[in-house]
């Protein structure tokens, strides 16, 4: 396995791209072509790093942009993609009201992108401090790993009896990358999200 931390903002990951990776890269390339800053958070991040599961949606935060930029983007991609949960002309209003728009390939529903404006403190942090993951000639931008682990534990905190994929995701990323992580930053996010009691049980060696 080859994961090279080039610097604070760039990681080189060697892997064979799968269909989900290609689905994500095709779409995020379009966002970049339209100069829309984005960051991928949540379930796709552990999958990118080898987690053995798939997902129905890819969570994406984008910067707050104006209505014409959204409309122009949706119009340009409408031959290949569709907005599932609203019409293109109402998409901006939904984003403004902090409701995600879902975009899939035309005539398909799954998987799809769940897109929101980065409005929360953590969303804004993820966008501002996003990591560039370079895979061969391709790349995607993801949330800082430390925030991602803490947030996954936070998402899973309410589910302690059944299968908890969020906690498993956090554990996978932590186990794979723990030698490279900023432990103090990880602890800081865990504390801010008030999930230290869970993190101490899962990420045992972080607190030794």
């Amino acid at each position: 396995m080859e994961i090279k931390f080039i610097d604070k903002h760039n990681i080189r990951l060697d892997k064979e791209l799968n269909n989900l990776d290609r689905f994500v890269i095709d779409f995020t390339n379009l966002l970049e072509r339209h100069k829309i800053n984005y960051v991928i958070v949540s379930g796709y991040v552990p999958i990118l790093f080898g987690r053995t599961r798939a997902t129905e949606d890819i969570d994406v935060f984008i910067e707050r942009i104006n209505e014409s930029k959204i409309e122009n983007f949706l119009k340009t991609v409408e031959g290949k993609y569709q907005v599932l949960n609203t019409s293109s002309d109402k998409a901006f209003q939904m984003l403004k009201e902090d409701v995600a728009i879902r975009i899939s390939r035309k005539n398909e529903i799954l998987p799809n992108f769940e897109i929101k404006f980065a409005k929360t403190k953590f969303g804004e942090y993820a966008l501002k401090n996003r990591l560039k993951i370079v895979i061969g000639d391709e790349h995607v931008f993801i949330s800082p790993i430390e925030l991602q682990i803490a947030f996954k534990i936070y998402l899973g905190k309410g589910d302690i009896s059944g299968r908890n994929k969020d906690v498993e995701d956090a554990y996978h990323i932590y186990k794979l990358l723990r030698e490279k992580l900023n432990k103090d930053e990880l602890k800081k996010f865990i504390k801010e999200l008030e999930v230290e009691h869970i993190a101490r049980k899962i990420l045992v060696d972080l607190y030794e």
């Binding site: 396995m1 892997k15 269909n19 080898g50 599961r53 059944g162 498993e168 554990y171 794979l176």
Partner: protein
């Protein structure tokens, strides 16, 4: 803890053990090898 809760707890623990196993597999095998395994799963679900 009733029988069902015990089973669920054991299942959760088993899944964490599998993650340990899988991470070891990733660390000890080339990208081509572990990617083939992951891609077999994902490509069966995403076309």
């Amino acid at each position: 803890m009733n029988e069902l809760e015990k089973t669920m707890k054991r299942n959760n623990e088993d899944r964490m053990v599998f993650i340990d196993f899988w991470i070891d597999f990733m660390r000890n095998n080339s990208n081509e090898i572990w990617s083939i395994e992951q891609n077999r799963l994902i490509n069966s679900l995403v076309k």
